[in-house]
Structures are given as C-alpha cells and as structure tokens.
Symmetry: C2
Subunit: 237 residues, 2 copies
C-alpha cells in the first residue's frame, strides 16, 4: 500500500479571487498536522525571483497557520527535506521548474519523501510534475531541461488549465484536445484535463476529483470521457 | 551578402479558406523558376502519416504547377537535396519536427542549401525552425528532441499564430505576451509575433512583413512594438 498524499491542483488562482483563496479550506485540511511547508519556487511565474515567489506563498500559508521556507534558503537538500513536514510547488514555467529540479538533483529525493507519506501539493506547473512526464504542459519551452520525465507519483499525465474548444473561434492554432490527441500518437499515458477550479486529491490508491467542474480524461486510442466531481476510482493505480 | 530566400508564414490556413489558398499568389511568385519542391512532412499535424501529409501539400502545389516529393520518399539526404529546387516544411508539432530533423541529421545540410540560395518556405512549425531556437513555439512538448536549437536562418525567433490577450477572458493561463516575456528572462533573441495571415519575406538581408496585419515585436528588456505590413528593416540582420 502506498502512503502518498498529493493535491494536484489546476490553478493557484481562479478569476476574481485571491491567491489560493478558493482552495484554502482544502489546503488546511490536506496539510493537517504539518507545521513546516517547504516551498519550491523554481517555476518563477512572470520571471519573479525565488525570494519574491516564496514571499507570496508564505503570506498565504501563514494565514492558514503554516510556516513556509523556500528550498533555496537551505544550504543543502538534506536540511531542506528535514525541515519539511510537507511540500508545495507553485506554478509558472514547467520547463524552468523541471530544469531546476534536475540541476538540484531533487527529483528522486523528493519522490522518496512523498512516497513515504509527506504530503505534496502542486498548482499548475507544480501539478504537471506529479505525472509521468511534463509532455502535456501548456507552457512555452523557454529553457531546455535534461529530460521531460517528471516525478511519476501518479501513473498518468496532467493537463492543467484545461480549456474546452471555443466553437466561435476563428483562430487556426490547435485546440487543447487536438494537442492531447497528438500526444497519444507518441505516448500511451492517460491525460487528465483539469479545468481551473478543479483538483485531484490522492490518498494512497484513492484518487478523487474535487472542485466544481467535471474533468476530461483522455485515454490513448479512445474517445475522451468526462468524470464528475466526487468521482473516485476513475484512475486506479 | 547572403542569398537567402525565405518565406516565414504564420499559418497554412486562415479561417474560411482552403489550405494555403490565401497565400497562393505569393507562393507562385516566391518559388518562381523552381520546378521541384521538397516537402518536409515531419510535423505530422493531427498525427497523420508522412505520406498523407505530403499528398495534401502535393495537391496544392501541383495546382500552382510545381512538383512535390516528400523527403521520406528518397533513399538518402543527398538524393533528396539534389531533387529540390526549393523546400517547404508544413506545420504540426514543432517538437516532433525538430526531433526528426535531428534524427535524419538534416539541420546542417538543409541550412547550407538555403544559405546557397534555394528558397525555403515554412508554415507554423515550419516557420518556427527558421529561427534561432524553437523556444517560442506554442506547441505541446509531446516528444523530447535532442536540442531546441533550430536552423538559425534569421537572427530572431518566431511566434506563429500570435494571439492578442482577450480582455474578456476569465482564464488564468498565461497570455502569449506573458509567455514571451518569460522567454526573455532566460534568452535574448528578439521574438516576432506573427498573426495568422501574416508572413515575413526574407531576401538576403531584406526582411519585409507581408499580409493584412501588423506584427508584434518583442525585444528583450523593452516594451513590445507593432510594425506595419510593408515595413522593411525592422529586423536587420
């Protein structure tokens, strides 16, 4: 049996609300019993610094009575992991995030901690890395990481900020669904299209879709399917 | 002096028209004097086969009195390049296109042919590869290529299918402009945002924006600027 506790969140922010505001009750519940949250700021949304990004996460988590330190504030990985009762990786650019995880040789130690039961929450780019690979990110490939392989905490891939095709659009760029279907010409993993405001809560082998929206599930070689919030077992590990 | 002749096209198709229809007069003019066009089908839009994709390009180019063969129809690169009076690379997935160009060891020979004067036309993914790198593609990274470095025929990067931010959008994913600004935190190349229906015609050091739309130019560390169709010299090499 796996002890994994993971919160895979489509977006940190929904339209009209503050940073993590819409999901703060779930965060309090998810990290219950944790005191110190290690923040991984590597995705640098808008190019902000690790310090600036950590300050944003710290402000919100301190409201919820958690301590937060950025992983870059420690001298080495061991000290950082020892501090952490739980982990939070914020969104931004997935390629830069993955590149830094490889540069800091963090993927394996982080995965081990999570598989031993320390809770992990990711939003957007931080959610992408919970999957098998980051090949279903929406981000621009502004840096070249050593691999697209991710943490593989779940046996599928995430597409956060999932967007339905706009029937009135005259734009000829590919829709999200077309892109994910192209992914399946080269890869076999199921892809979970998580709409903004939705998240997956993973407890061991139990995976539940939460939030107000259905999720769109793309299995290789099959028609996409919609699953309802509260659905459990649609993605058994 | 460079003899390069390059057509860098945002999209193969504009809303409501057939494949390459809106730009067919320019194609006829651009490839004037050429008989045989070598088509590079590696980007495989929607996952179609190389043969299927080549048939689509052939149908259109034959209407315009050119012969077309797919590069995969030749036994080796030398024969393929010897056939070609000019080159056309179609759109699709930029990562798969780049991966195949590396696997076939095509980047350097193709670049040499173009620098010696054989005309090259690219649409969408085929345009991305004319730039310094493909780090400003909009595509999903469904395969991992050995590098993001591209042909470097022009000293800037392309963002095809450029889209202005939608002021009414409630979606929290990054706008195109935000993504390109993030690119400039890690890279210094100018990025040309080419709207659908626009293209660049490059003749040696002469670069002209053509088509009905302005283009949005992103220079590192500066505010974006709009350039008008017919503008020449906005991107001197």
């Amino acid at each position: 049996m796996s002890n994994k506790n993971i919160l895979i969140v489509s977006t940190s922010t929904v339209h009209g609300k503050g940073y993590l505001e819409y999901i703060q009750d779930e965060i309090s519940n998810f990290f219950e019993g944790c005191k110190n949250i290690l923040f991984i700021p590597f995705a640098r949304p808008g190019g902000i610094t690790w310090d600036e990004y950590t300050a944003i996460a710290r402000k919100k988590f301190e409201e919820l009575d958690f301590n937060v330190k950025g992983i870059h504030e420690f001298n080495n990985t061991e000290d950082a992991l020892a501090y952490a009762d739980g982990f939070f990786t914020g969104g931004g650019n997935t390629f830069e995030l993955v590149d830094q995880l490889y540069k800091h040789e963090l993927l394996n130690p982080l995965k081990a901690e999570i598989e031993n039961g320390k809770p992990y929450m990711g939003t957007s780019a931080g959610s992408n890395i919970t999957g098998v690979s980051v090949k279903t990110t929406n981000d621009m490939p502004i840096v070249y990481p050593p691999s697209f392989d991710a943490l593989g905490l779940v046996p599928f891939n995430i597409n956060p900020h999932y967007l339905d095709p706009d029937p009135n659009s005259k734009h000829m760029g590919e829709t999200r669904e077309t892109r994910i279907k192209e992914f399946h010409h080269y890869n076999s993993e199921t892809v979970v299209g998580l709409r903004e405001g939705s998240w997956l809560r993973v407890s061991g082998n139990y995976i539940e879709l939460r939030g107000p929206h259905t999720a769109r599930i793309f299995d290789a070689g099959q028609e996409p399917r919609e699953v309802e919030p509260g659905n459990v077992g649609f993605l058994l590990q």
